[in-house]
């Protein structure tokens, strides 16, 4: 074998063996942006629910804190399920980000205990909130993350994470289903929460603006109406089921993430992950749209 042939073979072997972690880093970053955006929205809706409940309790003279309990019930069930899903996706993104720069990674306590958490995800009647497939996907990814700590081989670890594409797609679908329901009569949990919030806002304003309370307690009624009014545009945009509404935009961003995930499985360590980068670009645009919408709404 001639020297030039040996050098060419060596160069080929070296370039083939030197994985490109840029795609890993980008996918991790964009996944984190998406989960942060979803978390921000859940926190915002919880806050709106509680603030509005406090106003209706005062305005209608409700003795048993019923509206506040409704907010807590939602948080304890659907909110907790979303929280566990987001925690697993967050840790997944952090693990990828750490591997991309060859740093160590600690699995969060929440993800370490996912098995127990999934078993405890029940509604107020004690019924499981998760279907078997979704529970299995959550626990499988958590298990991979926990076991990843033992791996010293970066590329193998990334490949192991990328191989969880199907389970990650199940989690993406789960997250999407909070915002947009599949075709059928039922609405998504988010849509129902927004409907309840919008209905409460209208009714409380009608009560405070009505002749009874506006005459008996004019200053307090005026202040409370102003407080509610400040949330009107925020609730209206969220109640919009159309393409400019928050729910559809959020679903669009999750769809873009699922499309990127589909390529990540194949192109995670590719030297030229062209299609993956295109899809990540689309994901960034969609996430930015949602973030802009939430920002416009004053969050």
């Amino acid at each position: 074998m001639r020297i030039s042939s040996i050098l060419l073979l060596l160069a080929t072997l070296l370039s083939g063996g030197c994985a490109n972690f840029q795609a890993v880093s980008e996918f991790a970053k964009d996944t984190s942006h998406l989960t942060q955006t979803v978390k921000q929205e859940f926190a915002q809706m919880e806050d709106v629910c509680v603030r509005q409940a406090e106003v209706v309790i005062v305005a209608a003279g409700i003795a048993d804190d019923g509206p506040l309990k409704a907010c807590r019930r939602y948080k304890a069930a659907q909110g907790r399920l979303a929280g566990v899903t987001l925690a697993v996706l967050d840790d997944y993104a952090e693990a990828l980000a750490a591997l991309a720069v060859d740093k160590s990674f600690d699995v969060s306590k929440e993800v370490q205990g996912v098995g127990k958490q999934v078993a405890g995800l029940k509604d107020s009647d004690g019924k499981p909130l998760l279907a078997g497939k979704e529970a299995a996907a959550l626990t499988k990814i958590a298990e991979v993350l926990v076991n990843l700590g033992a791996s010293r081989e970066r590329e193998a670890a990334v490949r192991r994470l990328a191989a969880e594409k199907d389970n990650l797609a199940v989690l993406g679908g789960l997250l999407r289903s909070f915002f947009v329901a599949p075709p059928g009569p039922a609405r998504a949990p988010y849509a129902n929460l927004v409907s309840l919030t919008a209905s409460e806002l209208d009714a409380t304003q009608a009560l405070l603006r009505g002749p009874a309370l506006s005459k008996a307690e004019p200053i307090r009624s005026f202040e409370l109406v102003r407080e509610l009014e400040s949330r009107r545009s925020l609730v209206a945009r969220r109640a919009d089921p159309g393409p400019n509404g928050v729910a559809q935009q959020m679903a669009g961003a999750i769809d873009a993430w699922l499309a990127a995930l589909d390529r990540f499985g194949d192109e995670a360590l590719s030297r030229d992950p062209k299609l993956l980068f295109e899809r990540l670009k689309a994901l960034r645009a969609k996430t930015a749209e949602v973030r802009d919408a939430l920002h416009v709404l004053g969050t």
Binding site: V56, A59, A60, G61, I62, G66, P67, K69, A70, R73, Y74, A77, Q78, D123, D125, K127, L129, A181, G184, P185, A186, R187, P189, N192, L193, S195, L196, S199, E200, D202, A203, T204, A206, L207, R209, G210, P211, A212, L213, K215, A216
Partner: protein, 140 residues
């Protein structure tokens, strides 16, 4: 909503799914919202607050049904989501034609009571409350 019902017996695993009760959830919210115009004319503070509390109870019940899975008690009548949604639609149709806050409030209170029985999954209690609701809705 008829006076008589013949239903199959429920078996273990028969349940009412919150997703199938979306029409009832929407109906409860619509009935609560339909009280808003009363607040524009009601001048008595306690009466206005009572309307507000009734609306809050209806919303709370609607919220309770979201995502709920109600197991039916086996060997009792198999109540379906269609029965519940039908009762809600009937109640909504009657209540929107009722004049006067007090009469509306009585019927709405009975409707909320009906849904409390639905949450138990006990067909005997549900049927009993359904007949009580029908009687209340038929009353002038």
């Amino acid at each position: 909503m008829t006076d008589t019902m013949e239903l199959d017996a429920a078996v273990v695993a028969d349940r009412l799914d919150g997703a199938e009760l979306q029409a009832s959830i929407d109906g409860l919210l619509a009935m609560a919202a339909a009280l808003n115009p009363l607040l524009a004319t009601e001048t008595d503070v306690e009466a206005a607050r009572e309307i507000g509390r009734t609306q809050a109870r209806m919303r709370a019940m609607a919220g309770t049904l979201v995502g709920r899975q109600i197991d039916l008690i086996a060997n009792e009548a198999r109540i379906t989501a269609d029965h519940i949604n039908g009762a809600t639609a009937f109640a909504q149709e009657v209540i929107e034609k009722v004049d006067g806050w007090k009469k509306k409030a009585q019927k709405l209170a009975r409707l909320v009571q009906f849904f409390s029985s639905v949450l138990t999954g006990d067909a005997r209690a549900i049927v009993k409350e359904a007949f009580a609701l029908k009687k209340e809705l038929d009353a002038a």
